[in-house]
């Protein structure tokens, strides 16, 4: 797949005079967004090594230190400290891990449920289809954030709960799109031939339908990553997401709100910039994938 081709390889390839097809495939490749995402992933993986301080332990003696370049800041705490004296940079670094883990797993959970139900309802049709689609309609009627808050208020805050909640809230978008695709795939020759050849329904859904809808699922997953991360941050901000003292970006902003009115800008602005970079990058990559991989989704 063209997507996974590293950008550097593409550059050297063009210099070596590779057929223009390969270049066309990479046209408009969102290089910067992909690099940002890779960077965040790298930071998330090596957070233990990269973080200069413990993200959860601070000292009240050095609370509300401004970033290094402002008066009163020190190089020890490059991006300042928060209301209990924890290092902001270290918390941002570990926050990347929380966002990545929650974001990616939640998208996988949602994608798993949605794709499965989409295929089953699209292929089997009949009452299975009716049930899945009515449930989907109901799900979509609830504003996602409110629904997530409701669930979170019941089960209580924890990282695992958040993943389950986000998966439960967002599977419907996959189900809708995948079902639509399956409906048209069902009419295609290869599926009919598989039926004639005596394949069971399960084999057809698993072997013949699934590989053909994976593209759309990947596109949707990339686009959903941004939505899921913003929702996680919002839940954490409201106090029903990742529980403190874990360093999650949304939580950092909720804490930072306390220092906002006296001008401690770094506590809210910096985590927000991290979320923005990650979500923007995911959206730009998703947009590009959508156009490249799946012409049917272009109007989405």
């Amino acid at each position: 797949m063209a997507v996974t081709t590293p950008p550097i390889a593409a550059e050297t390839a063009s210099a070596a005079g590779v057929p223009p097809v390969a270049l066309w495939r990479l046209k408009g490749f969102p290089l910067i967004p992909v690099m940002i995402l890779l960077f965040i992933a790298f930071v998330a993986i090596f957070a233990d090594v990269l973080a200069p301080h413990d993200p959860q332990i601070g000292s009240l003696a050095r609370r509300f230190r401004p970033p290094a370049w402002q008066a009163g800041g020190s190089m020890d705490y490059l991006l300042g400290t928060d209301h209990v004296g924890r290092d902001v940079l270290s918390r941002l670094i570990f926050g990347a891990r929380v966002s990545m883990v929650v974001g990616i797993t939640a998208v996988l959970v949602a994608g798993g449920i949605g794709t499965l139900l989409g295929i089953v309802s699209g292929y089997l049709g009949g009452w299975a289809d009716q049930v899945v689609m009515r449930v989907t309609d109901t799900w979509l009627a609830l504003p996602a954030l409110t629904f997530a808050i409701f669930l979170a208020a019941i089960v209580g805050p924890s990282e695992l709960n958040i993943i389950a909640i986000l998966g439960l809230v967002y599977w419907t978008r996959y189900a809708r799109v995948i079902r639509g695709e399956v409906l048209s795939l069902k009419q295609r020759e290869f599926v009919r031939l598989a039926i004639v050849a005596g394949c069971s329904k399960r084999v057809i859904m698993w072997r013949h339908i699934l590989p053909n809808v994976i593209n759309s699922a990947v596109v949707l997953a990339t686009l959903m990553l941004g939505v899921v991360i913003v929702t996680e941050a919002s839940l954490s901000f409201l106090g029903v997401g990742v529980p403190p003292p874990k360093p999650a970006w949304g939580l950092m902003m909720a804490d930072g709100k306390k220092g906002l009115m006296v001008g401690y800008w770094w506590l809210t602005v910096l985590p927000g910039i991290c979320i923005m970079l990650m979500v923007l990058s995911a959206n730009l990559l998703g947009d590009w994938l959508r156009v490249k991989l799946d012409p049917q989704l272009r109007q989405l």
Partner: protein
């Protein structure tokens, strides 16, 4: 037509039924509902009394029947914190939410429609790109962050606008913009695509052939038709806005429904959380039904299709 409406109403009722079932079951399956319904710090006898009072010792279907009966009677329970019925609290806060949503909607349309038209008329031009960036940011930025940054600039640094509360038109500006941006982005995108579609149609070509000035073609002939889907979306979004404003209302301490929901969460006031979600879901189901029926009335193709 009659058949179509009956079927749509049937679907909506089914949706409402599923909605109530989901809410009812989630509360009971994920743990002991008494721990949610009882006030924090209650004694074991109180908990036992509560269990009997709410009928939680009875079979599940009986509980559901009771739940539905009280819902139908408009009884959403009583808030622990305020000691008043949830519905009363809801209606106290509703005007504030409506006001915020109305101003946010006005802002989002004022930004979204003109920029959408500009983008469609000059496809791939400067305004199109600028609009795309504006929309992308609007859809990507967490609204609570936008709110906090606005507070930082306009309240803390410049001191122009009040950072929280309500009462004057100035209080409305920042929350309305924060809430409206996301929707402005959606309205802009839809205006653009709908305008592009209309501009490609035969009657626009005719208008141009007649030699009408371009401003008249776009501003009068094309706009009228291009705005239909946008107005529909705006109608639905107005209801959505009331229900997703929780983050914005929390940031600006705006006393609306969202703030009520947030208070419900922080005070572990479960009846409020449940009530706000039930009413919100029902509102959206109803608006979708209205839109479907309205569309069927306007466009015979829809009601004949299925």
């Amino acid at each position: 037509m009659k058949q179509y409406i009956i079927r749509r109403v049937g679907y909506s009722l089914l949706s409402l039924f599923l909605l109530s079932l989901v809410i009812f079951l989630f509360v009971r399956v994920t743990g002991d509902p008494v721990s949610l319904l009882v006030e924090p710090g209650a004694s074991p006898e109180d908990i036992e009394n509560m269990r009997r009072q709410f009928g939680l010792d009875r079979p599940l279907w009986e509980q559901y029947w009771h739940f539905m009966a009280s819902l139908a009677a408009g009884d959403l329970g009583q808030s622990f914190y305020y000691r008043t019925p949830v519905l009363e609290l809801y209606f106290q806060r509703l005007p504030n939410s409506l006001l915020l949503a109305a101003v946010a909607m006005a802002l989002s349309l004022l930004i979204g429609i003109p920029s959408g038209i500009l983008a469609a008329v000059r496809v791939d031009g400067f305004w199109d790109s600028a609009g795309k960036i504006f929309a992308l940011l609007g859809l990507s930025l967490p609204s609570f962050w936008v709110g906090l940054v606005l507070i930082l600039f306009f309240s803390v640094y410049l001191g122009w606008l009040p950072s929280s509360g309500s009462g004057t038109p100035l209080h409305l500006l920042m929350p309305a913009f924060t809430l409206g941006w996301y929707f402005a982005a959606a309205h802009m995108r839809l205006t653009r695509s709908s305008m592009l579609e209309v501009l490609g149609s035969e009657y626009i070509k005719l208008a141009r052939l007649k030699g009408l000035p371009e401003a008249l073609v776009i501003g009068k002939h094309a706009l009228k038709n291009a705005l239909i889907p946008v107005i529909t979306l705006a109608g639905i979004n107005l209801v959505v806005m009331i229900n997703v404003a929780v983050v914005v209302e929390t940031v600006f301490a705006w006393p609306g429904i969202g703030r009520l929901l947030y208070e419900g969460i922080t005070f572990r006031d479960f009846p409020i959380v449940q009530g706000v979600v039930v009413i919100g879901g029902a509102m959206i189901v109803l608006v979708n039904l209205l839109v479907d029926i309205l569309y069927a009335l306007i466009d015979p193709r829809i009601r004949l299709e299925s």
